[in-house]
Structures are given as C-alpha cells and as structure tokens.
C-alpha cells in the first residue's frame, strides 16, 4: 500500500472489522488499483475533492455520476436547505413532487407522467414490472454485460442469486441486430420489454455508441412485436441531452429511468413514461420510507433550472472534447498511445492495446498521486464545474502522471 494513503488504510482496517468488504460496491478498492488509490473522502468543492489524508484531486468521476454541476453547488444546496428548514420527510408528498413531475413531462418528449425513487435500481426494476403489467408477458431482454443495478435479475456476480431470478431474462449482444433477431425468433412473442442503456458502457471495456442499424432494429422490434422499450438513462441522463439521451441516438422509448445527475448529488431517481402506460404504472406498487423527502426533489428542480439556464449539456461536450483531445495528444507526446471511447461528457480514455489493464492501472495510480482522480476501468464523468482552467490543470497533472509511468524526467515537461 502506498504510504501516501496511510489514513485511508487505517480507516479501511477499522471498516473491515465492522463492514463486510470494508467498502462495498462500486467504491470498493478492488474496483480501482488497491493500495494505490485513496479509499475515503473528507470534503469536496466544485470539481475537486479531498481524501482523508488531506490530498486534493481534480475529480473526473463526479461521485460516479451524481455530481453534475459541481460539488457543493450553492444554488442547489440552498434550494434543498430551504425545504429542510421546514421539514423534509413528511407523511405526505410535497408540492415539489408535482412540480418535478410537471417539469419532466415538459422536458422529455415521450413523458406524460413521472414517479420518483432514490436509486437507479429502484426505477429499472419498477419499469420492468410496469412492462410486465402492461403487456401481460414475462420475459425481458437486455444486452450482455450491461449494468442496470443491484436487483437480483441484473446484479453483477452471483452472490445470493438463484437461477430463478434470471430465468425470465434473455441476453443479446450490443450493436448486433442479428442476435436481436435470433432472440425475437425464439422469444419475441413472450417479451414484455427490452431494457438498454443509450450507449454501451461496460466496466473493464470501451464504451460503444449504438450504430444506426442497431437503433433501427431496436425500434423496429418494439413496433413489430409490441415490446416496450425501457431506456436506462441512469448513467447518461442530463449529460447528453436534457430531454433524455434517446434523442441523441434516435430510440423510441416507452419508459425512461433517470437518476445520478438529476439532483446534483441529492438522492433521487425518476421514471417517466408514455400515457398509454399510466394505468399499468398506477397498478405497479412502489414506495420507500424516504421517497417523499422533499429536499432531493427541490434540488432536482434547481439542478434542471441551472442546466437549462447555463447550457450545461453544451458546456460538458465542449470541455469533454478539450479533455479528450488534450489527453490523446499528451499520450502521443509521451509515447504511450491512448484511446478514447464514449461521448465527450462521459468519456473513457485508456492506454491502447492494453488487454490486461496493467498499464492503465499504473497510469491511473500515478494520476491519483499527481492529484487527478481517474478510474482505470469505468467511464468518467464531467460536471459543469470542469471549466477550461480546470481541464487545463487536469491535463497538466495527467502529463506528470504520464511522465511518471514512462519514467521521463519532469524537466521534460
């Protein structure tokens, strides 16, 4: 373990005594470069955060997506604080839920109604049930290696999962209309829904945008077989298009799930749908102890307001492109060829021809040491707080990391 992270290490040792895995889920050290990354955070502001050892990082993961305008955005925090002063978790919903539902139906072309939860998994699993209720069919199709949350039907891994949990789920391959056609031939009449992310963003792999042929095949199947299309926009939503990522690629969804960016770090998820599904949605029970919490809804309203006002989607694309071009150029200069995949606002840059990820892991560990937080195996996220000076500073730190892994003297900068 890198001595730099001594407090992280000590805290992790304590955590391991009382928490299974020490840190579980996507934040687990196993997911990054164990021993060479910080494990625990202490504070954050804008596009930066500080770990428990006091080191500062320009953060290109944005809390794995939720930080959309930047950490501690004052306008959003004030909107949330205002309702918190009057109470937050009530017996009833507040007007904010109505306002946010109205706002989403205005923003998203296919949306005639909206419901709210706390996490992406709440919505993806509920959307699957709505599709079954609507169609009276059991089966659901999903892309191989796609991530849709932690419910038994989709959770990565096998712990606590039984065969029956997945027995009504079929897989097809991304960007492979033939595998879709094969699936339709065997199960088309039995499928209630196809659930997909707008583009394919598997962990430990490059992001893959959909081909026009694939999008056309998805839309054709939806119309031909009466299968509902669920877009899991949890990871991409509000970063590619405020009206939903389907508009970027041309999908014709029936249900869309949002979370992450929607409330700039406040816990919230949403599912929107077409009017034809409203009765089925009303029959598909959903609730949670904290789902009436008004502060997250107020935060979402303010987040969307700022996103519209400040043209955040365009800004993310512009700064994302600046980052990608800068990194690829630096890679060339330091003779470590890099490759980029995914949209500019959600990029994933990694060392080219590095099947084992050894070089990528070394590069990201070096970047962490130089104060730049990159994930070696997962797509990255930009926020509105990543403005031009921050991107340029990130590039400088990235160059230091490249020099470190290439063992070039810093004076060569």
């Amino acid at each position: 373990m890198n001595a730099r992270y001594s407090k992280s290490k000590a805290l992790f040792a304590r955590a391991s005594e009382v928490i299974p895995g020490g840190i579980y889920g996507h934040s687990s050290p196993v997911m990054t470069v164990p021993g060479e990354f910080p494990y625990f955070a202490s504070k954050a502001k804008g596009c930066r955060y500080w770990d428990v050892d006091g080191y500062e990082y320009i953060d290109l993961m944005c809390g794995y997506g939720p930080i959309y305008l930047g950490y501690q955005n004052e306008e959003v925090n004030e909107a949330a604080a205002k309702i918190q002063r009057d109470g937050d978790c009530f017996n009833h919903p507040t007007e904010y839920s109505v306002q946010l539902a109205e706002k989403l139906t205005e923003l998203v072309d296919i949306a005639d109604w909206a419901v709210f939860g706390k996490n992406g998994s709440d919505m993806t699993s509920w959307a699957v049930r709505v599709a079954r209720e609507q169609t009276g069919r059991k089966r659901i199709a999903m892309a191989s290696h796609a991530y849709h949350g932690i419910a038994p039907w989709c959770v990565p891994g096998f712990g606590g999962v039984i065969a029956e949990d997945r027995s009504t789920f079929d897989k097809f391959y991304w960007n492979d209309p033939e595998s879709l056609d094969e699936l339709m031939a065997s199960s088309g009449e039995k499928l209630a829904a196809i659930i997909i992310t707008p583009f394919h963003h598997p962990a430990f792999g490059d992001s893959v945008l959909p081909t026009p042929e694939f999008v056309a095949a998805i839309n054709r199947i939806r119309n031909e077989y009466g299968i509902l299309l669920i877009i899991d926009d949890v990871r991409c939503g509000f970063r590619l298009n405020l009206g939903g990522s389907h508009r970027v690629f041309g999908y014709e969804p029936d249900l869309i799930c949002f979370s992450k960016a929607i409330a700039n770090g406040y816990p919230l998820s949403a599912c929107v749908g077409r009017s034809s599904l409203k009765v089925a949605a009303s029959k598909t029970f959903l609730t949670g102890s904290f789902w009436n919490s008004a502060s997250s809804l107020a935060a979402a309203l303010k987040t969307i307001e700022i996103a519209e006002r400040d043209n955040v989607v365009e800004a993310l694309e512009e700064q994302g492109n600046r980052l990608i071009e800068g990194m690829l150029e630096l890679g060339q200069k330091r003779e470590l060829p890099l490759q980029s995949s995914g949209p500019a606002a959600i990029p994933y840059i990694r060392v080219a021809d590095d099947h084992s990820f050894h070089k990528q892991q070394a590069l990201c560990a070096a970047a962490a040491e130089k104060g730049l937080f990159l994930h070696p195996h997962h797509n990255w996220f930009l926020s509105a707080a990543h403005t031009e000076p921050e991107i340029d500073e990130a590039l400088q730190r990235f160059d230091l990391a490249l020099c470190a892994v290439q063992r070039e003297p810093v004076s060569a900068l």
């Binding site: 373990m1 290490k9 992790f12 040792a13 391991s16 299974p20 895995g21 020490g22 840190i23 579980y24 687990s28 050290p29 196993v30 997911m31 470069v33 164990p34 021993g35 494990y39 191989s144 290696h145 891994g157 096998f158 999962v161 039984i162 065969a163 430990f204 099947h355 084992s356 990820f357 050894h358 892991q361 195996h377």
Partner: protein, 263 residues
C-alpha cells in the same frame, strides 16, 4: 446458487476426487522428503475407476508421482473399481463401507501398502496434523497441495458444472498467476477458447492478472472460502492487478469448490 441436484452432486464430487485431488500426489512426492522416503525405489501404478468412463491413474517411479489424464485403466498395475460414485466418495471421505473391487493387482500388497502410507501422509499435510506440522516445508507444501487441488477443481467445475460454465462464459480470455508471497508457491491458470489450463510455477509469458496472497494462511483461507476477499484486497493481504474480471470469475468458481470437497 448453492442447491445442487443430488445425482449431479455425487458425480461431480467423484470427478473432483479423481481429477483434482488424486493428481495432488504429484505435488506431495515432488516436495515432501518424507513422501519420497516412503516410496523409495518402488515403482508401480494405481488406477481408481468408477464405471467404465471415469478413472484416474497415478504412476509412481523414481521417487516421483505422475498423473496422466489420458492413461488407460489396463496400463495400471493396480486397478481399484468402485461400483458407484457414492462408494468412491466415501472412500475419499473415510465414511462407511467403501471397499472397492481390486480388479487387478490383488497380489501387489506392497504397492497397495505404499500407497496407503502415502495417502496417510497426504491427508496429514492436507489437514495440518501435528505429526507433519514440524516439517519446515509443511506450510508451503500444504498450501501447494491445497491450491493445486483448488485450481484443478476449478477446471473440472468449469467443464462439468453448468453454473461454473456460465460464470466463465463471457469472461475475457487471459492468463492468471497465483502466488504466495512468503512461501514461494506459484501456479497459473489460462482461460482460452472456452478451456481452462493450469500448471505449477511461473507461466511462460507475462500474466494478464496476478493474484498474490500475502502468506500461506491467507491463501488457505481463500481456498476454504473463509475470508472476506474484498477486505483482504483492500488491506493488501491479497494483491491483485491486471485483468480483474478474469480473477473475479475464477474467484466465483473457486468459491464453489468447497460446496463439493474440502481442499
């Protein structure tokens, strides 16, 4: 997914004893002087057979043991035939009535006696009996035998258990290297073309993922599914780098081995 259909359970267990446990006699003879002493100059071969299809032959010669996966039963000097998988499993677990039919080699009492002595020593190392715990090589031998069994068992499960096959199905191809830091043990597993291959020592090319256990205790706990692996990776008790999805999938299959046998 731990519910296993009883018939399948018995068959797989027998296959694991024959294809994962018995071959570990190679490691025993290679590393244990006590085992080499027991064998001495003796040369013989012994086959364990269930029905006509499932068999495993060990060749003892020059103080070594060699397991030949493709060897024929008739090549063995001693042929022990078990009427059922259950009978064979009981033999390996020292449970109940279990005497096999000696179809060949009934007169080779000395060889059978040698094998029994080696088996007792094998079991003593495996279970850490006080009788062998004083051996300075005990820990490395124990971990070598157990990890070797676990790696071979992983191959058997991937080939013959549906869930293990599914786990590996979409796993990226690559070479994994397992080592035990303080004890010098190393073994590799390669996943390629839907097949698992494994071997002792360093692989002949750079591995895609390395899994280094801090010490034998950590490795043994992993083999026995008795350690919080995620925590161990975080604290550095297990060092992991490279193609993590390969290690992950192998880990899931690894965890299934104790459902059948205790390596």
């Amino acid at each position: 997914m731990r519910e296993i259909e009883p018939l399948l359970y018995r068959k797989l267990k027998a296959r694991l004893y024959l294809r994962a446990v018995l071959p570990a006699f190679e490691d025993l003879l290679e590393k244990s002087e006590a085992a080499q002493e027991i064998l001495g100059e003796r040369k013989f071969s012994i086959c364990f057979q269930v029905g006509r299809q499932l068999k495993s032959v060990l060749f003892f010669e020059d103080g070594k043991c060699l397991w030949r996966p493709g060897a024929r039963a008739r090549d063995a000097d001693v042929l022990l035939h078990f009427l059922s998988e259950e009978q064979l499993n009981k033999e390996f677990e020292n449970k109940g009535f279990r005497l096999p039919l000696p179809l060949k080699g009934q007169t080779r009492a000395k060889d059978i006696s040698k094998f029994k002595s080696l088996s007792r020593l094998f079991e003593a190392y495996l279970r850490g009996d006080p009788a062998v715990a004083e051996d300075p090589k005990f820990r490395s031998l124990q971990v070598g035998i157990q990890l070797g069994i676990a790696l071979r068992a992983t191959k058997v499960l991937v080939e013959h258990e549906e869930i293990s096959g599914l786990i590996m199905k979409d796993t990226p191809e690559g070479l994994a290297y397992f080592s035990v830091g303080l004890d010098g043990y190393g073994a590799w597993v390669e996943w390629k073309g839907g097949q698992l291959l494994s071997g002792n020592g360093l692989p002949d090319r750079k591995s895609d993922v390395t899994i280094e256990f801090f010490d034998a205790d950590t490795a043994l706990k992993v083999v026995g599914n008795q350690i919080d692996v995620m925590s161990a990776v975080g604290t550095g008790a297990i060092k992991l780098s490279g193609l993590i999805p390969l290690a992950d999938s192998l880990g899931y299959v690894f965890e299934r081995v104790p459902l059948y046998i205790k390596p």
